[in-house]
Symmetry: C2
Subunit: 253 residues, 2 copies
């Protein structure tokens, strides 16, 4: 996804801290084009502070007087909206919206994601200038997200979509040692069982479910070869210690 | 998903504003249990201000001295982590992590989502107290998310998963008028074509692709019955006006 085609547009932002927070959220997610429509206070030290390592997003931000100016060259304009507008409009959640945005960027279109005022959002007139409305499905007890947080959520969805197929599917996709083969695991279980018998923890005449439970434990965790070697080493040492400690009469049998 | 089984644990937070921001993000996404491990400054007016309508999350927050205390009764502990730890550990992105959290909550387990310090995250020792590590796949140019933003992203993923199947699949699932049938659309196209011929916009001898393009336009937008009635009304009025304006000799033909 070419993020240069995506601009975040903040309309009449009151708190400069939110502009800074939005800039940081954008850069964290690989976005960089910020357009500010008549911000109350900008530039401002509070914006700089909240932007932290995303100063350049603020420095390159474009300040304009009207929403019309901010979106003039855009082919897809998405407006963020609370629920319950008088005239229904196509409304998407951030995940489904990201799909539309990615498709538009794929056609090399210019896309604007428009966020309204902290207290009142976008006006009906501004929402009608958008092709699509986006709603973050927040909880009914307190639905109003902080402005920069809303930018974070939507930027995150765009990034997740851009990374799709590149993220590890399983939690262990990036591992530093190969996982054990079944063959090596079987050798380990055999070694473990021998050792448990030798230290009198396992009675071969009444084994109960002990080995089954241990197999389930080690099977579930998926041992890598390094871990397996460590466990085998422990077993070997345990056997040696047990043999050395055996009473001489038994050892002589 | 029973959100009472999920706690957000913030370890040694420096900035009280981040505690407030995290509280708001939680309540926005339907979470309420906040545990603070030795926060630098709490309670604090900056936390209250950033929490906005989520004061009750702060008021009910539990303050403890150690991570061990915060997670003692938990069955699943997830630690947030930057990439590149020395010892690889099962690492999930927030979306896949949410699935594990939901499954644990479904088994009525207690789950902790643990977030580290603003500047250094969690220590290796703290990470080793976790069953699972979570990484937000941020951009390599500036990977470090603000603490409250990280809480927002992960709380959002939990909410999206909880709402799965309840969110409208298409952007028009909640609409105030029924969408038009093919039959009514065909009547409209016929009416439109007649009218365009009548106003000499369409030459039946050389129609080119005009109707095909108009069909594509209206087909793509999916008209509802109310919109269709409006358009039909416009066509009827257009025909009436065109007839009235016709030169008498032609009208008399």
């Amino acid at each position: 996804m070419n993020s240069a085609n995506i601009r975040i547009v903040l309309v009449n932002t009151s708190h400069p801290g939110n502009i800074g927070g939005a800039a940081r959220a954008m850069k964290n997610m690989g976005l960089s084009r910020l357009v500010l429509v008549a911000p109350r206070k900008f530039p401002h030290e509070e914006a700089d502070w909240r932007a932290a390592g995303a100063q350049e997003v603020l420095q390159q931000a474009v300040v304009v007087d009207s929403l019309a100016e901010a979106i003039a060259d855009c082919q897809l304009v998405v407006g963020t909206s609370a629920r319950g507008r008088r005239i229904p409009w196509p409304v998407l959640d951030p995940r489904r919206c990201a799909v539309d945005v990615q498709a538009a960027v794929g056609r090399d279109e210019q896309v604007a994601l428009v966020f309204g005022r902290e207290d009142r959002g976008l006006t009906n007139e501004e929402l009608q200038a958008c092709n699509l409305h986006l709603h973050i499905p927040s909880h009914e007890d307190y639905p109003s997200l902080n402005l920069a947080m809303a930018v974070q959520v939507i930027s995150y969805e765009l990034r997740m979509l851009a990374l799709e197929g590149q993220l590890p599917e399983a939690s262990t996709d990036e591992w530093d040692a190969p996982f054990s083969t079944v063959e090596n695991m079987e050798r380990f279980y055999q070694h473990l069982e021998e050792t448990l018998v030798q230290i009198d923890f396992l009675d071969p005449a009444a084994p109960r479910q002990l080995m089954a439970r241990l197999r389930r434990l080690y099977g579930r965790v998926r041992l890598d070869e390094m871990e397996l070697n460590i466990l085998r080493g422990i077993l070997t040492e345990t056997q040696r210690a047990a043999t050395a400690a055996s009473p001489p009469e038994k050892a002589g049998d």
